[in-house]
């Protein structure tokens, strides 16, 4: 049980690290949101499952309730994180920020902002 929790926790940390490095490496506002908003959700799923596993090691009613609360945190993050990410992207589009693209800048048209 402990071993599995450690593996999960390390996996979660790996995703978090990837998210942080991705924010630094990606070229622009929009693409940076991909690692920022998403790798975190994977990281927290793994890390919180590890915490829940450690708690459930000693099975009792209180611990079951705590594990249920941890499960609810995961559910809420999976609902709110895409919403927040979408709100940030939407704000960028409304402000008129153009996405970085590989093709020459001259070819970008207003149509891209829909």
């Amino acid at each position: 049980m402990d071993l599995m929790a450690i593996v999960l926790l390390c996996g979660g940390l790996f995703f978090f690290t990837g998210g942080a490095i991705g924010i630094l490496r990606f070229p622009d506002f929009y693409s940076r949101l991909h690692p920022a908003g998403k790798l975190d959700t994977a990281g927290q799923l793994l890390a919180l499952s590890a915490v829940a596993l450690i708690i459930l090691d000693d099975l009792s009613r209180e611990h079951l309730l705590t594990a249920a609360k941890i499960g609810l945190i995961v559910v809420f993050v999976y609902l709110t994180s895409p919403t927040a990410t979408h709100a940030i992207v939407d704000a960028g589009v409304r402000a008129g920020l153009r996405p970085w693209e590989k093709r020459p800048a001259g070819e970008t048209t207003d149509d891209d902002l829909g």
Binding site: P27, H34, L39, A42
Partner: protein, 187 residues
């Protein structure tokens, strides 16, 4: 089974409306579902099962459901609710698997030494055949949850604008994901 559940709903609602209140004060299914959800959350969060705390929970949930139930379910709930939930739960493992796979893909991109050659950010647009608000919301949510793609905009006519980080992430859209959600809602 579904019809029986339907009858139970209707009975509970008619009991709640027994005093025949004015139209604006009537209970509907949205209130009832909100109440049950809130009560379940109360019980999990409080962790106490004695009469006093449960009664407090019932009171508080009823009050909040009555005051703000209309915010949670703005439209009449779709028909065949129990079966819909069943299909929704059956769809979740697939979604989790997709999220996991896409996470690994973005992780691979993040650590790739020639990351700039690999990525190709762009906004793609497509028309979705999903009709209901619930289905479109779920679809937009699923797109954003899957790393590599973020829903930028959905119009009232169901036109999706999606920002994707590279061709591998963007190409499968709308595709299988839309099909799965259509199967949940529109059977």
């Amino acid at each position: 089974m579904a019809r029986k559940a339907q009858a139970t709903w209707d009975t509970v609602i008619s009991v709640l409306n027994a005093a025949k209140p004015a139209q604006s004060l009537r209970f509907n299914r949205g209130h009832l579902i909100s109440f049950l959800l809130l009560l379940a959350l109360w019980i999990v969060f409080s962790g106490r099962f004695d009469g006093f705390h449960l009664a407090m929970g019932v009171l508080a949930s009823a009050l909040v459901a009555r005051l703000s139930g209309g915010l949670i379910f703005t439209r009449p709930a779709p028909k065949g609710l129990p079966r819909l939930w069943g299909r929704l739960i059956a769809y979740l493992p697939w979604l989790l698997y997709q999220i996991f796979r896409a996470n690994l893909h973005v992780l691979y991109l993040v650590f790739h030494p020639r990351m700039m050659d690999k990525i190709n950010p762009k906004i793609i647009k497509f028309d979705s055949r999903l009709k209901s608000d619930y289905a479109r919301t779920l679809f937009a949510n699923a797109i954003t949850l899957t790393p590599g793609t973020i829903t930028v905009d959905v119009t009232a006519l169901g036109r999706f604008a999606v920002h994707c980080i590279d061709d591998v992430s963007g190409d499968p859209l709308p595709g299988q994901m839309e099909e799965r959600i259509a199967r949940v809602f529109e059977k």
